[in-house]
């Protein structure tokens, strides 16, 4: 009891002499820190900062084919975008996708994670099965589901077989159903990862709260509402922000292989619209203007994310 503290004090003294503060073990050293960080900073400046400036510039100059000129375009691309209403369709579709996918994923994931945590019959098997969805490559999942939901594919055949013909719709041929089919692919693929994260969060929570609630006579829905949901609030908030960013920005591959933006423009979301305008039609100026809009939307979401995380960390994100 007595030997230990003195030993530690001695250690502290020694560490102070060397220059490491014991409390936060941080070494104060600007030059070596920036030495370690310089490759990262240079790369990120080139890929992000410089290209963001380029993007803003590209949306404001006239274009000749694939070459930007030095002439200012009087915001003509933005004017076209808003006057002809080109932006609203893709923007609305992106928002619709977000509005469908996120609530479903969060509700379903909370339900799944809660029940796996409560060890329902077969929970080990279910956990394993749901995990599988997250390790199948996105493109593979998208293509397989595109086949399965094909007008004459297995699922529709199955519906016809059990005489539920009204359910056998042309999922990718009909504008209304195509976006639902797309949502299903995204949700299906997202469930695995989010369930694991939510489950990890629940596992770190206190199990005795559940026991107390059960003794008080709470049923399972009340448990979800009053115990599981509060335990997950923080992660759900974070998830809503990051999922919104994800659904707005990272679905190019899924859209490309499943619907290709069609039928018509029914699934041409904002992100895919940039690709379509730039690389299919060759209107790079319009593409750049849409990119600026998408960038601004994402930027606002990032600010919300930072505001949210900075409440928890005073030292910065890391």
């Amino acid at each position: 009891m007595s030997a230990c503290p003195t030993n530690k004090d001695e250690k502290k003294e020694m560490i102070k002499k060397i220059g490491i503060s014991h409390r936060n073990r941080l070494l104060r050293d600007n030059s070596s820190a920036y030495g370690f960080l310089s490759p990262t900073i240079l790369l990120l400046l080139f890929i992000f900062a410089y290209q963001i400036i380029n993007l803003l510039m590209f949306s404001l100059v006239k274009w000749q084919g694939i070459r930007p000129t030095n002439e200012f375009n009087n915001f003509s691309y933005f004017v076209t975008l808003f006057k002809q209403g080109l932006l609203y369709g893709p923007l609305l579709r992106s928002l619709a996708l977000t509005a469908i996918v996120i609530p479903v994923v969060i509700l379903l994931t909370t339900f799944l994670a809660h029940n796996i945590y409560r060890k329902v019959f077969g929970w080990k098997f279910y956990r394993w099965i749901i995990f599988i969805t997250s390790i199948i490559p996105v493109i593979v999942a998208s293509i397989v589901w595109t086949f399965l939901l094909n007008a004459y594919g297995p699922i529709n055949n199955f519906f016809r077989f059990i005489h539920l013909d009204f359910l056998a719709v042309d999922w990718f041929g009909n504008a209304k159903f195509a976006i639902i089919a797309l949502c299903w692919i995204i949700i299906w693929r997202e469930l695995g990862f989010s369930t694991i994260i939510f489950l990890a969060q629940l596992t770190s929570a206190d199990f005795s709260v559940y026991e107390a609630a059960i003794i008080d006579g709470a049923n399972e829905f009340q448990l979800i509402r009053y115990v599981t949901f509060p335990a997950l609030t923080n992660i759900i908030k974070l998830y809503i922000i990051t999922m919104t960013i994800y659904v707005m920005n990272n679905l190019f591959g899924v859209v490309l292989v499943s619907t290709g933006g069609g039928p018509g423009y029914a699934t041409t979301v904002l992100e895919y619209y940039i690709y379509y305008m730039t690389f299919r039609i060759g209107k790079i100026g319009i593409g750049a203007a849409v990119s600026v809009v998408l960038f601004i939307i994402t930027f606002i979401l990032i600010l919300i994310y930072i505001r949210f995380t900075s409440k928890n960390n005073k030292e910065g994100v890391f």
């Binding site: 250690k11 560490i15 490491i20 073990r25 070494l27 104060r28 050293d29 820190a33 920036y34 370690f36 960080l37 490759p39 990262t40 790369l43 990120l44 080139f46 890929i47 992000f48 410089y50 963001i52 380029n54 993007l55 590209f58 339900f111 799944l112 329902v120 279910y126 099965i129 390790i135 490559p137 996105v138 493109i139 293509i143 595109t146 086949f147 297995p154 299906w188 469930l191 694991i196 990890a200 049923n219 399972e220 960013i245 920005n249 190019f252 591959g253 290709g260 992100e271 940039i274 730039t278 690389f279 990119s291 600026v292 990032i302 930072i306 960390n313 030292e315 910065g316 994100v317 890391f318």
Partner: protein, 278 residues
């Protein structure tokens, strides 16, 4: 009594949801695997039946004549190089963030973390114009730079978390023994966060392996393509006629990531916990 009927109703609901989801997973996997082993005739006869035997003709065809062997190798090379680069830069940056106090740390951390969420599609046009100028389109160097840049933020974040978890006593002991900064990095930080770094590499590998956007835009020569892009294009090209070939191809490209996740599963549970929850 009322409570009991409710609890039965709830149990049925839960099992219903789980069984439905499991069925979608199992059925899609069954569809993928069984059809990849069928001949076109068998496939046309029935998409649901079991294949008549283990017929690897589809795999052989897709690997040689389909040209998957080339693009598969391209993908592998790109992924491995990018993952290693991300790891090197990430470890250096993570070391600075977790161990050194410096001016502008907070601002820099926010700037770096926000690059994680910046829309890749929004930056495609400036990147494409820039890379065309620098002759980096259809060039592996160019796409490796992009992959490294886009996966750094997340990696630095995870690596910093791992490094933070190393106990103070270990660092003190090492410093007292006269370890230099690089010595600390190589002899203390790296070995102690080994499982975390393995997880990180697996995640990065699968993210890059799964990427379509950058490979689609920046590698346009067919002999330079990645396997994901080739298959994404495949689908449009052959339509429904060569379904069995596509299924075989899909199975081939799923193998690397699934295998990696299964091999690294042990490390993975710890890693995902450390990364997701602060």
């Amino acid at each position: 009594m009322k409570h009991k009927t409710f609890s039965i109703f709830y149990k049925i609901l839960v099992q219903g949801v789980f069984i439905f989801l499991s069925a979608t997973v199992i059925f899609s996997l069954y569809y993928l695997i069984s059809n990849s082993l069928k001949t076109t005739n068998e496939f046309n006869a029935s998409q649901f039946s079991l294949p008549k035997g283990f017929n690897f003709e589809n795999f052989r065809y897709i690997w040689t004549k389909g040209g998957i062997s080339v693009t598969f190798k391209n993908s592998m090379v790109l992924c491995v190089i990018s993952v290693v680069l991300v790891l090197i830069l990430g470890v250096l940056a993570g070391f600075a963030f977790s161990f050194i106090k410096f001016k502008g740390k907070k601002t820099l951390s926010y700037l770096i973390i926000s690059t994680m969420y910046i829309s890749p599609m929004a930056l495609i046009i400036p990147l494409f114009i820039q890379f065309t100028k620098l002759n980096l389109v259809n060039n592996y160097f160019g796409i490796i730079i992009i992959y490294t840049g886009f996966h750094l933020a997340y990696s630095i974040y995870l690596i910093t978390t791992y490094f933070r978890n190393i106990p103070d006593e270990t660092l003190e002991a090492a410093t007292i023994d006269g370890c230099s900064k690089f010595g600390l990095l190589f002899h203390v930080f790296l070995p102690l966060s080994r499982s975390g770094l393995i997880v990180l590499c697996v995640i990065n590998f699968s993210l890059i392996w799964n990427d379509v956007l950058f490979a689609f835009i920046f590698l346009q020569k067919s002999e330079m393509q990645t396997v994901m892009v080739q298959i994404a294009k495949f689908q449009g090209k052959y339509g429904v006629g060569n379904m069995t070939h596509i299924m075989a191809a899909l199975l081939i490209i799923s193998i690397p990531t699934i295998l990696l996740y299964l091999l690294a599963q042990r490390f993975f549970r710890e890693g995902i916990l450390a990364g997701s929850i602060k």
